[in-house]
């Protein structure tokens, strides 16, 4: 019996698990046998949903699902008006909102985190605000955003901004405050000017912590955009999910859920790669 490597074993298990999921799915979505009780008027039965035609659920079989995925992915960018856009367009709207909100948040959180991490006074002054604002669900800001900004899309971006802000702010402050004293002492004895110290010493030293914050923020932002778009409507993957629910197209909802997962995974692994690049070993 030949031995398998760890990843071969894991791969085999993954494939096996997938097969089991497909099997369970297939069994669960088998068309039900028509059960029409004797003595009941067939027309009445049809009215009550136990009709004479088919009893197929709107939950798709794996084969029907695969068919839909294939169709949707082979033409992702069509645009047939407000309620019928390709999945690529919907995802692009969502990703664009997330990126704009996220980078606006980074532009605020990282410099502010630097200031907080560098100064005890700043830290103590701003800490109560951060502690108070951090636990607020980003969606709770939505009415305020809609009232103030008066634009649905910009409000969604604002919600992304506000939810991305805190992990980045806290991690940046923490990373900057915990830069090893030795490195700061070295730069002091070398009379390194503050700007050079910030970019050449503190930033690289705190980069792994900052990037962890960015990664958490991005994860949260991707979670929140779906809910935010359900509220604001119009475009985006969140709107797509809600719209397909209203159309009672469970297949499309399932497909959207799958795509949300794929994009979320891609965004996270992007930050995984970035994290590796700034990581250092002491």
């Amino acid at each position: 019996m030949k031995t398998m490597t760890l990843s071969q074993k894991a791969g085999l298990l993954s494939v096996g698990l997938f097969a089991v999921i497909l099997l369970v799915w297939q069994l669960a979505t088998l068309p039900e046998a028509k059960v029409v009780a004797e003595g009941i008027d067939p027309e009445y039965a049809a009215l009550m949903g136990g009709g004479t035609s088919t009893a197929a659920s709107s939950f798709p079989t794996p084969a029907a699902m695969a068919q839909t995925v294939w169709e949707k992915l082979s033409d992702p960018f069509y645009d047939n008006g407000p309620n019928d856009k390709g999945i690529g367009i919907q995802l692009a709207y969502s990703i664009a909102r997330v990126l704009v909100g996220f980078f606006l948040a980074a532009a605020v959180a990282i410099p502010l985190g630097f200031a907080i991490g560098n100064s005890r006074v700043f830290y103590q002054a701003l800490n109560p605000y951060v502690q108070l604002l951090k636990p607020i669900s980003p969606l709770a800001w939505m009415p305020l955003a809609l009232y103030t900004i008066k634009d649905a899309s910009a409000s969604a971006i604002f919600v992304i901004f506000i939810c991305s802000l805190w992990p980045m702010l806290i991690n940046t402050a923490h990373g900057v405050a915990n830069v090893r004293r030795d490195w700061l002492d070295v730069s002091r004895t070398l009379e390194v000017n503050p700007l050079r110290k910030a970019f050449r010493v503190i930033l690289p030293a705190a980069a792994p912590t900052i990037l962890t914050g960015m990664r958490i923020s991005m994860g949260i932002a991707w979670l929140v955009i779906v809910a935010a778009e359900m509220l604001v409507g119009g475009t985006g993957i969140g709107y797509f999910v809600w719209n397909e629910w209203n159309n009672l197209s469970i297949t499309n909802v399932l497909f959207a859920i799958f795509m949300i997962g794929v994009v979320g995974m891609a965004l996270d692994s992007l930050f995984g790669v970035l994290s590796k690049r700034v990581a250092y070993q002491e």
């Binding site: 030795d182 490195w183 070295v186 730069s187 002091r188 004895t189 070993q281």
Partner: protein, 311 residues
């Protein structure tokens, strides 16, 4: 003193450092009345038990810490903050782990000479990397280096800025004995070449004897002081393998060990006596070899004797 006498290069006057008491009472004075001078090109070691404030003195000289009272003058100017004139070698080597060896040294060089172009910075840094024997490892990250190699980078970085004075805080404390011996000899060679003025903290008596011109002995804290200054009369150039054969070696070594084992504790009682000497006693091994009664018994050379020094 006449005006023709050159001022000492480094002059420390009446230095003291007190910290707020953790229990909220009176301030705790770690050391006070610390006075000493270091001449240009001199290698001075300071030793004493943990807690006597050696590292604090070094940090004050570096400008990283501030004295409670007293002044430090270097080259006629008061030390009020960190400066490129004083290179520091940290015990923990303090290399930046995200930079390579070359980048670590270049960072210092670029800090010293901001107007230099890339090539000039690189060449200068490489010269000092070669000096400490790390040529070929310049593109490695500190995590890929052994403890001894890391400390060599620290030495290269400190020397590369060509400081007027070098401050070393137990630079070899974390190294194994064999590596330490090799780097000590390299340091000896580099200091001889560059005529570097050095102030170094060490717990290692043999290291102090091998490297220094003078050894300052500090009494135990709180209220630590420089209790004695030992003139190291061993001739240069010194070699690790031969140094212990010199007749001055064991008298100096015994004097140092005796101080650390017993006298460093007793000094506190003498300090507050009304007739206490205002300047530290100077021990010169030359005196021992005179026919007069020696203050410290000279053991027969070559007979092994072991001192347990609790550093």
């Amino acid at each position: 003193m006449t005006t023709t006498v050159s001022h000492p290069f480094l002059q420390v006057e009446n230095l003291a450092r007190a910290y707020p008491s953790p229990t909220g009472g009176e301030n705790v004075t770690v050391f006070d009345h610390v006075n000493f001078r270091i001449h240009k090109g001199e290698f001075v070691c300071v030793t004493g038990h943990s807690g006597c404030g050696k590292s604090t003195i070094l940090n004050i000289l570096a400008g990283l810490d501030v004295a409670s009272t007293g002044n430090v003058f270097m080259d006629g100017r008061e030390v009020i903050g960190p400066s490129l004139d004083r290179g520091v070698i940290f015990q923990s080597h303090a290399l930046m782990p995200w930079l390579t060896v070359l980048e670590n040294v270049s960072f210092a060089v670029k800090s010293r000479w901001a107007s230099w172009n890339k090539q000039k910075v690189r060449d200068h840094a490489m010269r000092y990397i070669e000096l400490v024997g790390l040529k070929g490892a310049e593109h490695k990250k500190p995590s890929q280096l052994s403890g001894g190699m890391k400390q060599r980078v620290g030495i290269a970085r400190a020397f590369s800025i060509e400081p007027k004075m070098l401050l070393m805080d137990e630079p070899f404390g974390a190294l194994d004995a064999l590596t330490r011996g090799v780097i000590q000899e390299e340091l000896l060679k580099i200091c001889a070449e560059t005529q570097q003025t050095v102030f170094m903290i060490t717990h290692d008596v043999d290291e102090a004897i091998l490297l220094s011109d003078r050894i300052m002995l500090m009494s135990n804290g709180p209220h630590a002081r420089i209790a004695e200054i030992v003139n190291n009369t061993l001739p240069r150039p010194r070699e690790r393998s031969a140094i212990h054969k010199h007749p001055h070696y064991y008298p100096i070594r015994n004097h140092l060990v005796d101080f650390l084992v017993s006298r460093s504790k007793q000094f506190g009682a003498l300090r507050d006596a009304p007739d206490a000497p205002s300047s530290p006693a100077v021990f010169d091994p030359d005196d021992l070899l005179e026919p007069e009664p020696a203050a410290v018994p000279v053991p027969p050379v070559g007979k092994p004797h072991i001192h347990l020094v609790n550093a």
